[in-house]
Symmetry: C2
Subunit: 325 residues, 2 copies
Amino acid sequence: MKFATYHDGSRDGQLWVVSRDLTRAMPATGIAPSLLSAIEDWDRVSQPLASLYGRLNAGEEPFATRFEPHRCLAPLPRAPQWLDASAFLNHGRLMDKAFDNPPNPEFETIPLIYQGASDDFRGPLADVEFPDDALFIDMEGEFGVILSDVPMGTTAEQATAHIRLLVQINDWSLRALGPREMRAGFGFLQTKPSTAFAPVAITPDELGAHWENGRVKLSLHVEINAREVGRARGDEMHFSFSELIAHCACTRRLTAGTIIGSGTVSNADRAAGSSCISEIRVIELLDQGAARTPFLTWGDRVWMEARMPDGFAPFGIIDQSVVRA
Amino acid sequence: MKFATYHDGSRDGQLWVVSRDLTRAMPATGIAPSLLSAIEDWDRVSQPLASLYGRLNAGEEPFATRFEPHRCLAPLPRAPQWLDASAFLNHGRLMDKAFDNPPNPEFETIPLIYQGASDDFRGPLADVEFPDDALFIDMEGEFGVILSDVPMGTTAEQATAHIRLLVQINDWSLRALGPREMRAGFGFLQTKPSTAFAPVAITPDELGAHWENGRVKLSLHVEINAREVGRARGDEMHFSFSELIAHCACTRRLTAGTIIGSGTVSNADRAAGSSCISEIRVIELLDQGAARTPFLTWGDRVWMEARMPDGFAPFGIIDQSVVRA
């Protein structure tokens, strides 16, 4: 199934079911008012939602309308929880090398995950406001999962069954503030403003064989001002989403609607480019002796699109401009 | 006004107005179904809630019932956001001294605040489950504020007007996991399981002169297994709640229902004791050469109560036992 959330003035938005090819949509408000309410009540509503989705795909919903991404908020405009990992170790290795970080003996065995703000997510086409472009404005292209209720102590094997939906994410970051917040040990706060999401959240079966071992095995195409800078694949995610869930649920339960992100999609092959500017700059520093690509400024435009092998973008498109607050 | 949230099977619970002396209560569900909905719609509901509160205090609500703390969840059983500071610098100074941390040049000018989990708070009398008592189970007695919507760039002067309610908090912590998570720079995740709250959230005017300059100027009495270990006062909070709000809203807006915590209430005077075991142990280490007070184990009971000068506890009482998950 595929879902989007249309703006209706409420904080959680209005749930719509979107056709497989992202051309048509129908409000699902008779079944569940919002995507969060559907996730919370999944056992009761998933069958009616699947029926609606089937009729929509079969052209049997005469009142279906054209799918309109410009009406979309993030699939969950706010979520009970947002936990963002750094599960593509190639990205971490590049950062550690460039900044000469001390070796982390648990680098390959314990995932790095921070607790992010989940009260105010951004939609796929929304301008993104920042207070100052001297703060090194950056993007991070990621995949993510939306969960059902997860009990404390859930293992990675058990965790897969709690993955309800997959999403595509742009984790906006202010790099100038990162070093101070990391050094202090309390994690990111000012460094991580509101995160943005592609318009469509999908059930894992929509990806067929491209959802495997708890990983989204698609390429993530990233453009800055219409120039492609990244086409990294999700296959190289070191920790699976199931392993990330188990780590997060180790000492507490996670409630339905919790979102876990993969961190910047990053591949060892330099030809894949990068999903964030910070990584582009670090590669320039390592390979050419100096970082040349600037961070973002007012008016810059970021485009992100995960593609199936045939070019279809199952999550829709993130296309955002950076604006002054 | 004083508010509590009764368990009714829903995730946000049922809003009740509680009398000034915490003896009587009335459901406010005709005005707002939950405390979160009231905070989100404050301009519309605050006057009807104040009228109900007035009638309750005047004995004019014949259907009022005895206030029952055992029916209470946290005032917000889940919140859009939970940001926890370390605003009592005496606590930080003790920790830095004991662990020989490198000097932080911004210690007195930039507050330390971490983004915590807000999806699953604990009620005041709920047993608290942990997976393992070898993880150094600890409490932290704190004060907190619940906010209205706060725009990005709000100053400390403007921030005070966004404080809707005051709360009393027990920030449960697993100290054995803290050093690794702080060293990695991504902040607390496994270290900070579900946070607990005293049953009653109050408007700042309920404290009269004891709410001053964005600080809760009350003593916080903390007992472990019926032995008092702390009676520290809120007066020594270095950063005011208004300053903490401004820090959090520097690069993003905060949505209504955001909770900001003070961090462990801590006083320079050793006679005030401590609001967490970690601080008790550090003082023992510094003064006596070795930490003697153990962390908590199964069956241990934690009691926390902020007191007015006449002994009245305006937030009610936190009384929790530690149990095995």
